[in-house]
Structure formats: structure tokens, C-alpha cells
Amino acid sequence: MSTPLYPFYEPAELLDEGALDLHDLARHCQRNTDWVVERVQTGVLYCENEPPGEATAPQAQWRFSSHMLVRARRIAHLEHSFDADPQLAALTADLIEEVQMLRRKLQALQH
């Protein structure tokens, strides 16, 4: 068998808005769907186009972005590492997200 002249480029999927459903989000953060549902209902995590803590759409229609996956993994880690209450983990995640956003703005200002 001859060696291909060009490498095979793996197809990569950008997880843009609405890319993840409830099962995807649970699977990618190594949690079960009940864990996600509870945190959506209490505003710790939120679906796209739904205000935090006020998801009215059926669960089958819930959609999440990459950002929510990063947040869900962060909250799962905080809950596990510190036995943190989900709301405390969410508060910590809020602060981490704000610090990261401010650091990016500061970096841009220092151009």
C-alpha cells in the first residue's frame, strides 16, 4: 500500500451556538443528565435563549454552547474538589469568568 502524499485531515466540528443537547452536555462533562437538569432548573447552568433558572422549553429542546460546556466542567470540578454547593460553585465560576474577561480586556488595552 503506498503512503499517501498528503496527510489526512480529521474533520473537526466547531461547537457553536446550540451545538450541544442535554445528553451531549452531560456526556462531555462526565455527569448524568439529572445532574445537568437540576443545575439548569436552579440557574447554575443555562440553556441558550432561556433566562437562567427559567427554562420553559421541554428538555429535548434544550441547547447549549461551548461556553456552557466549559462552565459545566468547571462547576463539576469545583463541586467535586471542594464538596461545594452548586450555587457556591456557580458563584466561583461567575467570578472566574469575569476575571478572564477583564484580563482579556486589559491585555487588549495594553496593545
Binding site: P7, Y9, E13, L14, L15, R31, S81, A108, H111
Partner: protein, 329 residues
């Protein structure tokens, strides 16, 4: 295989109580949390700390680990640490769901995998006295990738070198290096994820492999930056271009454009070029952030030109006007 001293990693002694281990773990988890820590090796240290905690916080695993430490070492030359012969008989419960770490043991060492993780599971799956492993889906693997903003505009191709632990024919974990050629889709933004289906970990049965998830980080570039789908680029104007306005040819991240500069533009003013931000179903916008570059007078004629300017604006008070930079972002 390198022996891991979990007590040293958590900085506790062997007699430490469960509570002391928990406190030591939390203290280190806070120090090396990858989101906060400024330590260069924070991610690696965090993985070590998680691994040590996964063993020492579980009484069953801790007892087995202590017994392992007490057993005569079979550490041998180039092969490093070898488990004692009767280690095959160890049995552990592997939790899943809410009790597990978010990443399972995907980031743990070969030592952990051999003693407590996939390797242990594989040995228990073999030998006939246990059922064959279920065909579970493999674990997802997470990594980050650093890109330039231009890569997001045009798409890119990257070669990724990944190291993972897989099981050999005898069910023993071995480190495997993998090289993946990846097409980076256009329009990726800071913090987004790229999913490569089936390129993650493989479980013991015949289930499908997990996915590889790459979190995107955009390199800092003083020439331009992105906020969501919108892109900002500082553009310098001559004082007369800003004052008088006109059309100027500008080289931007999205290509060259003739841009109309409104008369009386101040530093910090933003001009929007619609739809020339990052590619998307509804593309972002490109904002040109105006700055004014003052030429330094070198000749008598140039100095006189500034003097004439001053005379033409006798009542202009720059201190009252401000720099205009306050509105730049």
C-alpha cells in the same frame, strides 16, 4: 513505570487522617487550580493532586496503595517500578456518574492506570472469573489549542501531538503518542470548543471511542483582537486625516478597504465595517479603532506649520478637550 508517592504529592504523612487528606487536597487544589494559578505547571500539578486524592481519599484504594508501598520493591532498571506479583488479585469499585472526577482517570499517570484504573479493570475482565467488560463508550479527552485570529478568519490546518494511555494485548496500559492532522474550522472564537468525534479514549469493551475536545485560545496580538464575533483593529490617522476627513485606503485583518473617515474624528472613535468580523452564519463586524499619530517637527517649515496651527486655534484648550482615549473601548 514511575512509582508515585501520593503522600508526598499531597504533602501529608502516612498516618494522616481522612480529614487531613481532604484539607491538604483542597489547599493544593486551590493553589494549582488551572483557572486561577499562575504556576507554569499548574495543569500538570493539578492532575497529580487529583490522582493522589483519588487514591488516598478512598479507604479501599488507600489500603491497597499502602500495602503496595510496604511490599518489597521490584523496581528494575529501565522498566522502572513493577507491581508485586499478587497485585493482579486486587479489586476495586469504579464509580461513575456523580462520584467520578469530571475527566475520569483520562489524565492520570501510567502508575494509576496500572494499579487502579484501566489496567486493573482489564485484568479483572480477563481470567474467566469475571464477565467480559461491557461495550462502554470511551472517555472524552480534553486539550487546548492556541490559534491566531487570522486562523479563525481563514481556517487552518494543524498537527496535534497527543499522548494517551491505551491497553496493550495483555491489558497493560502503555503510553501511546498520536499525531492528528486537524482542519480548524473558520470562525472559531476564544473559549469555544472543537470536537473531533471518535478521537478520544477507548474503553475496554468494543464500545466506540470517546471524542477529543479542543478548547480554543486565541493568541494575544497587538494588531487586532476579537470580542465574540466582532474584531477590533487600531488604525492610526494623520492629524489632518482625522480633522478634515476623507477616504483612506486601509489594510485590515479582513483585507484592504477604502474607508471614509468623518471630518473631526477623535482618537478612540470606532468605525464599523459590517460583516467583516469573524465568519459565522451571521458574521461579526470589524471595528477600526481610530488613533492619531502626530508627526514630529524636524525642519523649520514643519515647526512653522505647527505654529500656524496654534495661531489658527487661539481658543483651543486641549486640557478641556481631553485625549479622547477614554471612549476607546
Amino acid at each position: 513505570m514511575e512509582y508515585k508517592d501520593y503522600y508526598r504529592i499531597l504533602a501529608v504523612d502516612r498516618q494522616a487522617s481522612a480529614d487531613e487528606i481532604k484539607k491538604a487536597y483542597r489547599k493544593l487544589a486551590r493553589k494549582y487550580h488551572p483557572d486561577i494559578s499562575k504556576e507554569a505547571d499548574a495543569s500538570q500539578r493539578m492532575a497529580e493532586i487529583n490522582e493522589a486524592n483519588a487514591v488516598l481519599s478512598d479507604p479501599e484504594k488507600r489500603a491497597a496503595y499502602d500495602a503496595l508501598a510496604d511490599a518489597p520493591r521490584r523496581s528494575a532498571g529501565a522498566g522502572g517500578f513493577q507491581p508485586p506479583p499478587d497485585w493482579e488479585g486486587q479489586d476495586f469499585h469504579f464509580r461513575s456518574g456523580d462520584g467520578a472526577m469530571p475527566d475520569g482517570d483520562a489524565d492520570f499517570s501510567e502508575f494509576f492506570s496500572q494499579m487502579f484504573g484501566q489496567g486493573a479493570r482489564a485484568r479483572h475482565a480477563g481470567g474467566g472469573q469475571h464477565r467480559p467488560p461491557p461495550d462502554l463508550r470511551g472517555q472524552d479527552q480534553h486539550a487546548s489549542i492556541e490559534l491566531d485570529l487570522l486562523d479563525s478568519y481563514h481556517g487552518a490546518q494543524r498537527s496535534l501531538h497527543l499522548r494517551s494511555t491505551v491497553l496493550d494485548e495483555d491489558g497493560r496500559p502503555v503510553a501511546r503518542d498520536k499525531e492528528l492532522q486537524v482542519s480548524i474550522p473558520k470562525g472559531v472564537r476564544e473559549g469555544q470548543m472543537i470536537r473531533l468525534a471518535g478521537q478520544g479514549g477507548q474503553d475496554l469493551g468494543k464500545g466506540p471511542a470517546g471524542d477529543l475536545l479542543l478548547q480554543v485560545h486565541l493568541r494575544h496580538d497587538p494588531r487586532w483582537w476579537a470580542e465574540g464575533k466582532d474584531v477590533y483593529q487600531p488604525i492610526a490617522l494623520a492629524p489632518w486625516e482625522a480633522a478634515l476627513g476623507g477616504t483612506v485606503r486601509l489594510a485590515t485583518i479582513a483585507g484592504e478597504f477604502d474607508v471614509g473617515i468623518p471630518a473631526g474624528s477623535r482618537a478612540g472613535r470606532k468605525l464599523r465595517i459590517k460583516g467583516k468580523g469573524l465568519p459565522a452564519a451571521t458574521p461579526g463586524d470589524l471595528y477600526l479603532v481610530l488613533g492619531i499619530s502626530l508627526p514630529e517637527p524636524q525642519t523649520d517649515a514643519q515647526r512653522k506649520a505647527y505654529e500656524a496651527l496654534a495661531q489658527a486655534f487661539p481658543s483651543f484648550d486641549a486640557r478641556q478637550q481631553g485625549t479622547g482615549q477614554g471612549a476607546s473601548r
